[in-house]
Amino acid sequence: MRGSRSARAARPAFPMRVIAPALFLLLVVAAGRVPAAQTSTATLNASINSVARLSLSSAALTFPDADPDTVPSIQASQGPITVTAKARTSPNGTITLTVRASDELRSGLNTIPASNITWVAAGAGFSNGTLSATTAQAVATWTGSGVRAGTQTFFFRNIWSYATGTYTLTITYTLSAA
């Protein structure tokens, strides 16, 4: 009699013979509601547009006075100007950097042709050139996106025939990324 009570107390509330069929039933029901396989595509779009950025190491160029016989070509006091061009363009797209003078060198009514200013360039893609007030002159060309840097050292042709004065002009750079 005592042994029979002990056996009843140890019996689980949900015997295995009840749980196993219940789990099987749940799986069957669940399997009926969920597809056998599913694929999903996530598309990631990174929008990379054309962009161009240009920076110069100096905003001014100064050519000091000098004796034309001893210094026929005056180098700008600032020395080489560092030009940094950053551009994003299409594959094999052309990037061009040009420069143009706003006008001839002017001191009141007196003028000196802007073409009397030349530059010597250093750096991949950069080229030497002569300033012009009428036509933009190529400073550099590249292909494809990237960051490029080079230098321009400017020179002023120093001849006796100039009228005295302080001559000024502005040179404008344009970086284009197609």
């Binding site: 999903s40 595509t41 598309t43 779009n45 929008s47 990379i48 547009n49 054309s50 962009v51 161009a52 950025r53 240009l54 920076s55 110069l56 100096s58 905003a59 001014a60 160029l61 100064t62 050519f63 000091p64 006075d65 004796d67 034309p68 016989d69 005056i74 100007i81 551009a87 994003r88 363009t89 299409s90 003078a101 060198l105 001191s107 009514l109 007196n110 000196i112 200013i117 400017f154 002023f156 006796w160 025939s161 100039y162 009228a163 005295t164 004065g165 302080t166 001559y167 000024t168 002009l169 502005t170 040179i171 404008t172 750079y173 344009t174 970086l175 284009s176 990324a177 197609a178």
Partner: protein, 167 residues
């Protein structure tokens, strides 16, 4: 499924919009202010710094001649500014107390802007050349002195001072 289709359409539209702007040309600019200083200056160069005439028979050599002296004038001045070269003797040709009048020391010159003929003076600067505006000019000057029987013997000297002015 409908949701997936709409997502694909929107994604394609985004790609198309993105690609159209990606091909637009982009530009960037920068500028530099340029200043060139051109100051007044003048430079005068003579091809020789002394003339030495040896004694000669006045009948055989009635006139001493220096031969052409190259005068090189370089000047920077204001627009329309006058550039002049003048010559002023420091005195008559002298040998001790003896003298030969320096105004008998004459010149002939050639070159644009140079005074073709002139006589030296120690009282007033004589204009050898004059020009307008900056530039360089080259000419020649030949000095001559009569070889007269009346001169007293001696070694006569004088200095000619050339002045280039470019205001």
């Amino acid at each position: 499924m409908k949701k997936a289709v709409w997502s694909a359409v929107i994604a394609a539209a985004v790609v198309l919009l993105g690609s159209s702007s990606a091909f637009a040309q982009q530009t960037a600019g920068a500028s530099i202010a340029v200043t060139a200083h051109v100051d007044a200056k003048a430079k005068l160069t003579l091809s020789l710094s002394s003339i030495n005439w040896l004694d000669a028979d006045p009948d055989v050599t009635p006139t001493f001649s220096s031969g052409p002296i190259t005068v090189d004038v370089k000047a920077r001045t204001s627009a329309g500014g006058a550039v002049t070269v003048t010559v002023l003797a420091d005195g008559d040709l002298t040998s001790g107390t003896d003298t030969i009048a320096v105004n008998t020391l004459a010149w002939t010159a050639s070159g644009t802007g140079f005074t073709a003929t002139g006589n030296n003076s120690f009282t007033a600067a004589q204009t050898l050349g004059s020009w307008t505006n900056s530039g360089n000019h080259t000419g020649t000057q030949t000095l001559t002195l009569p070889n007269s029987w009346t001169y007293k013997t001696g070694t006569y000297t004088a200095t000619l001072n050339y002045t280039l002015t470019a205001p």
